[in-house]
C-alpha cells in the first residue's frame, strides 16, 4: 500500500492504529515485570478503542492485547487478594515470621 496516495485523514488514522498497536505491545510486555497496574492502565485506556469504536483493521490486535492485559490483571488481583487475606489473618499467629514480614505493625492489637 502506497502511503503517498492516501489522503491525509486516512494516513493519520492508519498510523494511529499502527502506533496504538505498538504502544500496546510495549505496555503488555512490560506488564510482566510484576506490574499489574500497568495492565490496568492498558485495559482502561484502550477499552474504548478496542470495544466501543467501530471496527477497523488493527482493532483486532488491540483487542487481543486488551484481553491479555485483562487476564493478567485478574490473575494478579486474585494472587494479591489471597496473599493479603492470608497475611492479615495469620499475622499474629506466625510470630516471628509475621513480624519480619511486617512493614507496619499496629499498636495495641496482638
Amino acid at each position: 500500500m502506497n502511503l503517498e496516495r492516501l489522503p491525509n485523514e486516512e494516513k493519520l488514522t492508519l498510523c494511529r492504529k499502527y502506533y496504538l498497536g505498538k504502544l500496546q505491545m510495549y505496555v503488555c510486555v512490560w506488564g510482566f515485570a510484576f506490574l499489574p497496574f500497568l495492565w490496568l492502565v492498558n485495559v482502561v485506556w484502550f477499552f474504548k478503542e478496542a470495544f466501543v469504536k467501530p471496527t477497523y483493521t488493527e482493532q483486532l490486535q488491540i483487542k487481543t492485547y486488551v484481553k491479555r492485559s485483562g487476564l493478567g490483571l485478574l490473575l494478579w488481583v486474585a494472587v494479591l487478594t489471597t496473599w493479603i487475606t492470608i497475611f492479615q489473618h495469620f499475622r499474629a499467629e506466625w510470630g516471628e515470621v509475621g513480624d519480619y514480614l511486617s512493614f507496619t505493625i499496629p499498636l495495641g492489637i496482638p
Binding site: L3, L12, F37, L38, W83, I84, F87, F103
Partner: protein, 413 residues
Amino acid sequence: MSTSDSEEDSYNERTALVASEIPSVPSYQQDPDQPQPADMEPRRRTVAPEPAAEPPSLDRSAVEREPVDLEEEEELPLKYGAKHVIMLFVPVTLCMVVVVATIKSVSFYTEKNGQQLIYTPFTEDTDTVGERLLNSVLNTIIMISVIVVMTIFLVVLYKYRCYKFIHGWLILSSLMMLFWFSFMYLGEVFKTYNLAMDYPTVAMIIWNFGVVGMICIHWKGPLQLQQAYLIAISALMALVFIKYLPEWSAWVILGAISVYDLVAVLCPKGPLRMLVETAQERNEPIFPALIYSSAMIWMVGMANPARHAEPTNQDTGSSDEEAHRSEGSALARDWVEPETQVSSGMNRSYSTEDDLDEEDRGVKLGLGDFIFYSVLVGKAAATGGDWNTTLACFVAILIVSVAVRKTKCWRRK
C-alpha cells in the same frame, strides 16, 4: 535529613515552572507562518497543523503579533482567560486538598523533631525573637542562593545542549520522588490508621506506583494519569517542605521566592526567561517532568486529524517517530500562554477549525507553582488550628493567581 537532588530539583522545577507563564510568543508565531493558500487574516489565525521544521525566530513573531484586531484583543482574554484559569483551579485545588488532608490526619508531617534540611542550617530554637528572625533570614538567603545557582546551572546546561545530563538529573529526581517519598508517605499513613502491612505487598504497591509514574511522566501515558501523577508528586514535595522547613524560615522563604520568581521571569536576563526563550527558539518542549499541562495532543484517543496531517505526510517511517514528533510539535503548539493576545488568537482560530481544538487548548502550569501554593496552604493548615485559616489562604491564593494572570494578560497587550 540531607535531601538530595530532588530538593534542588524541585525548586528548579518550581522556578522553572514560573517561567511557563512567560508568553511563548515565538512558538505560536510560527504557526501562522505556515504557508496558507488563504489571505492574511486566516493565515494569521489558522494554526497550521505542524510548526515548521525550521525553528521560529523571535523577530518574526514580534512582527506577526501586531496585526491582530483590536476587538478580538479585548474579547479574547475575557473569553479564554476565565476558562483557562478554571482549568488550572482544579488541579491546584486537588493538590492543596491532598496536602491539607494529609497534614490534618497524618501527624508525622507536623512533628518537629529538630531535623532540618541542610539548606536551612540555622536553627529556630533561639532565645530571642530577634535571633530567630535573623536565623530565618539567613536560612532564606542560603535557600534562595541555592535555588539561583541551580537554576543558572540548569539554564547553562540547557543552552549548551547537555540534554543527557538534564534528562538524567530529572529522571533521578522523579525516581526519588516516586519511590522514596511515596514509600515514606505510605508508611506514615499506615501508621496513622494503625494498619498492618507486609513488605511484599508494600513492595508491589510502591513498585507499581513508581514504574507507572515514571512511564507516564517521562514517556507516554493517558493524560489524566499523567496529571494525577504530577499532582501527586507536587503534593509529596510540598509535604516534605512543610515538615522540614522551620516555621519562620518557611514564610520568609515563600515571600522571597515570589520576589525571585517575578525577577527571574520578567527581567530580560532572568534565567527562567532565558530558559523558556531558548526552548522556544529551538522549538522544543520544556522537560516533561516539570510542567503540568491540562491538555496534550496525544495521538491515542485524542488525535485531531488537522494537527497530525503534516507528520503523517512527512514521515512514513515508524509510528513511534511520528508519535514523538507530533507530541513534540503538539507540545510546542500547546505552549499556550493564555495571557497573551497571540495565544488567544491562536485559541480562537483553533476553535473555528474544530471543536476538539478548543478543549485541547490546554494551559500549562509549572509544578513549582503547585508546590508553592500547596506549601502555603499546608503551612496555614498546620499552624492555624481551625479551618478558617486554611480556607482563607486557599481563597486568597486563587484570587491572587487569577489577578496575576489577568494582569500579565493586560500587560502584554
